[in-house]
């Protein structure tokens, strides 16, 4: 029962083969036994069982929403009313939001059940879930014949590990530079970053407001379509929420890829990338071709400038967004401050971890007098050029196929000493955030030593339907049915 996909559980509940209370109780047990993975930072079993009971009552009457009775995990970046929300940071302390984020409210309105809040890199800054104040998450996957703990990717590392280990039916994530797709790829699951403006950002702890977007992390492409449908909405509380009706993404899965023009960007062939990545990418193109798609070589000439552009734009926005953490109105307050400035400076120095402080300093610097034009203004122009690359490419193709990550999951501690090496994990995903487009990571194969790798599909703005349909074609051809061996259960 706990091995159900979201779609299977939905159908079983509707057919009254199982109850939400049975399903939820079973998952609560699995979650408790998986504590060594550190995927959840807050478990909410009582709330989950109460929600499941209410769902069962609705289902018994033949009522219920699109996600009625389905247990989910929520990234700890989403504010949840009455349930501690930390964003992986000490500075939020025991912050208990008096309000609910729009995305999670949409999920509860659709009948979903909350199992708990998942671990993440502090303020979503990281690609390995190692910057969390709650400690690292371990990837359920290990290399063949190895006991080395690997990272689950980041920043949505608790969500990726929870889905991959079967600790929920599906989870929410957020993606600012790759934080849904990269962890999904290295844990063998599906992750979708929707078009900027598709899901409301209201009530999600802000990192970089022009890049942040919430999305589903699931076992299958169909599940991603189902979950996105309920997460997305037009929200008056978020002025960047775009006024377009939310389509039935599950229905849009039908129709196949015959005649679809798939672009292969030559700039994504990176020097020094492992040959397994390139081979998998070629295979992905062949799979789509075999199902009737047309493969077209395209060029995205400014690709190599995307990461450095991101590391100006995102820290600049973060330094501004994170100014609100001052030790006065909520969260952590340092002891023994001499005066108000000392209170701010000490609370922030003690409350933020090293990576967050590094990014606040970068952001403050690139926005400061004398450096603004050289860094921030230039980066915003580069961003225009990067987005233009895609506009040009979409004159020739409908969807773009790339690798999702430059490699498989790496060992805990491997890249923590070199910020730039860590940043390079997002080399294939970050362009998509800068251009505001939808991107989907789909598991497509295993490395020689048994670790999952993913492919990425990039679509036109608000064309999640095509992205999901192409993703389904990859999923079916890859037939990725591998599961990690359970080494963690207590």
């Amino acid at each position: 029962m706990t091995a159900f996909t979201l779609a299977e559980a939905r159908d079983a509940l509707k057919a009254k083969k199982i109850s939400s209370q049975e399903l939820t109780a079973a998952l609560v047990k699995v979650v408790e036994a998986a504590r060594p993975l550190n995927a959840y930072v807050t478990e909410t079993p009582e709330k989950a069982l109460a929600m499941a009971k209410a769902s069962d009552a609705r289902l018994a009457k033949g009522e219920g929403g699109a996600l009625e009775g389905l247990p989910l995990a929520i990234k700890d970046l989403f504010c949840t009313k009455g349930v501690r929300t930390t964003a992986g940071s000490k500075i939020l302390g025991n912050f208990v939001p008096p309000y609910e984020s729009t995305v999670t409210q949409n999920l509860w309105n659709a009948g979903a059940v909350m199992l708990g809040k998942t671990n993440m890199d502090e303020f979503a800054m990281g690609s390995s879930n190692e910057t969390s104040t709650h400690g690292p998450v371990f990837n359920p996957w290990r290399a063949r014949n190895s006991n080395t703990n690997l990272v689950p990717g980041g920043s949505s590392g608790g969500s990726s590990a929870a889905v991959a280990a079967g600790l929920c039916l599906a989870a929410t994530g957020t993606d600012t530079g790759g934080s849904i797709r990269q962890p999904a790829a290295v844990t063998g699951i599906v992750g979708l970053k929707p078009t900027y403006g598709r899901c409301s950002r209201w009530g999600i702890v802000a990192f970089a407001s022009s890049l942040d977007q919430a999305g589903p992390m699931t076992q299958t492409v169909r599940d991603a379509a189902i979950l996105l449908k309920s997460m997305a909405s037009v929200d008056p509380k978020d002025s960047t929420s775009v006024d377009l009706p939310v389509p039935d993404y599950e229905k849009q899965l039908e129709g196949g890829v015959k005649g679809l023009k798939v672009g292969i960007p030559r700039e994504y062939r990176m020097d020094g990338a492992p040959p397994e990545i390139a081979a998998l990418w070629d295979k992905g193109a062949e799979w789509l071709k075999a199902q009737g798609a047309e493969i077209i070589e395209i060029s995205l000439p400014h690709t190599k400038y995307a990461l450095p552009t991101y590391y100006i734009v995102a820290p600049a926005e973060a330094s501004s967004n994170l100014a609100r953490y001052d030790g006065v109105r909520f969260g952590y307050r340092a002891k023994g401050a001499r005066d108000i400035t000392d209170l701010y400076e000490k609370s922030r120095a003690e409350g933020f971890g090293p990576e967050v402080q590094r990014r606040i300093l970068i952001g403050t610097y690139v926005l400061s007098a004398g450096y603004y034009d050289a860094y921030y203004a230039r980066a915003q122009k580069l961003r225009t050029l990067i987005a233009r690359d895609f506009t040009e490419a979409y004159k020739k193709c409908d969807v773009i196929l790339t690798p999702a990550t430059p490699g498989p999951a790496f060992a805990v501690g491997d890249k923590s000493d070199d910020p730039v090496a860590m940043y390079l994990n997002d080399v294939f995903t970050v362009t998509v955030n800068l251009a505001g487009l939808p991107g989907l990571a789909v598991p497509a194969g295993l490395t020689a030593n048994g670790l999952p790798l993913g492919l990425q599909l990039i679509g036109k703005a608000f064309d999640e339907g095509t992205v999901l349909r192409a993703g389904l074609a990859i999923e079916q051809a890859a037939n990725f049915t591998h599961k990690p061996e359970n080494w963690w259960a207590t």
């Binding site: 929420s241 400038y305 006065v328």
Partner: protein, 95 residues
């Protein structure tokens, strides 16, 4: 452009982050590593390219100028590190 100890001290002040003296030098090194990498953006000719200032594919929205929420002072106080009634308590600001 290279970041030195004094620059780190200055930007840490702007960012309201207490940085201990012995951390200034290592931080300058880390930031320089990142800024040296970012330097590659100078290769690109951006003459005449407009800055991207909006990602959402629509004009900024208008909304009615009405009170739609609020009056929750005591709920907001629940997360305050120190408060008296509905006032936040901070160290003395005016001597």
């Amino acid at each position: 452009m290279s970041v030195d100890k004094d620059t780190v001290r200055r930007i840490a002040g702007l960012a309201r982050l207490a940085v201990p003296a012995e951390k200034l030098e290592p931080l300058a090194g880390e930031l320089n590593g990142i800024f040296n990498w970012v330097e590659m953006l100078n290769e690109v000719d951006v003459e005449g390219v407009p800055a991207m200032t909006s990602v959402a594919a629509q004009k900024p929205k208008w909304r009615a100028d009405v009170v739609s929420d609020g009056g929750e002072a005591s709920a907001l106080m629940q997360n305050a590190p120190e408060h008296e009634g509905t006032f936040f308590v901070v160290p003395k600001v005016v001597e």
